[in-house]
Amino acid sequence: MDTFTTLLMAFISIVIINNLVLTKFLGICPYLGVSGRIDMAFGMGLAVTFVVTLSGTLTWLIDHMILMRMDLEVTRYVCFILVIAGAVQLVEMYIRKFFPSLYDSFGIFLPLITTNCAILGLCLFINLWGVDNLPEAAVLSFGAGIGFTLAICIMAGIRENLNLADVPKCLRGAPITLITAGLLTLAFMGFAGMIK
């Protein structure tokens, strides 16, 4: 029961309190780039969730089972990026085989998940926070993906309505999106301090 509570707390904290996009500034590029339409945003969120769960768990395993035992921590970053690139390749093959229409609509953004900082960032944060058991690492990775999906879907919803608003000409596009994101983080700051 105790472990269950810890895991639940870890999940809630990574989804809303330490949301990677809104408090750690990770994954801003797709957050600004793909948040134009809500269905695209949701699909992107799911793809990222899958990749981040897979690579977060795998990098934790590799880090603890291989690198730390053999004193190879120096090669940590190189190994992490290889695992992520491999996971993205796997997702790309899977989507192309089973959901060709979704594959076409993603275009270039699918391979770009490799350079999504949210994923490498999460692997590094798991390492930094000193997570020492596999279930917690897996829950944190999954939660980070859900948090990303949540943030990008809220943003897409706002931006669909923003298209109808009369924004000053020089602020159109990226600037107003950034300002909206700022206001959104202000709302999420209200959750700070809820746990620990």
């Binding site: 970053y77 690139a85 300002i179 202000l186």
Partner: protein
């Protein structure tokens, strides 16, 4: 002016203003937002990016004729990851406090789009000299952009820049500017301002 000199001058102007990675191309947003709460970490981050950018541009430019197209991106990423590891270890050895403060954002340079973008669009097509100049110019543009944002945020958040007071005594610090909100809104407004200036011309 000879052809090479002209190309070099173009690259420098491009990096600093016309194709400024942060303000014009919107690349490398994560460090831009994350480390600009104060000028010192922003400057450190900028210098690390310059180092990695120049080194990876040199290596990519030297091996550009050996690369197979489909393995290109993977090789770029591995090169960048190697240099980022070097930069991270150097920082840990000589600036331990700053290294602890920047935390995971230094290794995150690996996935900074600026570096892979320059490797792809410049270093893999041009010779050594142009690649080095491009790395320096783009890195300088990035550093300047980071420092401008950091200066605005630090002045408004604490009333001081690099521990030198610039605001009058009666100034009330805006704590929000050093939080995520400040990062997003400052960058949004600065981008708006730059759009305004460049459309006027």
């Amino acid at each position: 002016m000879s052809n090479t000199q002209y190309a070099i001058r173009n690259t420098i102007v491009g990096g600093l203003w016309k194709e400024n990675p942060v303000f014009r191309l919107l690349l490398g947003m994560c460090p831009t937002l994350a480390v600009t709460a104060a000028v010192k970490p922003a400057l450190t981050m900028g210098l690390c990016v310059v180092f990695v950018l120049v080194c990876s541009n040199i290596v990519v430019s030297l091996m550009r004729n050996l690369l197979k197209p489909h393995l290109r991106i993977l090789m770029f990423t591995l090169t960048i990851a190697t240099f980022v590891t070097i930069a991270d270890l150097l920082l840990k050895a000589f600036q331990p406090e700053m290294s602890a403060k920047l935390g995971p954002y230094i290794p995150l340079i690996i996935v900074n789009c600026i570096i892979i973008c320059r490797a792809e669009s410049c270093a893999s097509k041009n010779g050594l000299v142009i690649s080095i100049v491009d790395g320096l110019a783009m890195g300088a543009g990035f550093t300047v952009a980071l420092c401008v944002l950091a200066a605005i945020r630090e002045i408004l958040a604490t009333g001081a820049v690099m521990e030198i007071n610039v605001m009058p005594q009666s100034f009330i610090p805006w704590a929000a500017m050093s939080m995520p909100v400040g990062a997003f809104i400052t960058l949004g407004l600065v981008l708006g301002l730059i759009n305004k200036i460049s459309t006027k011309k």
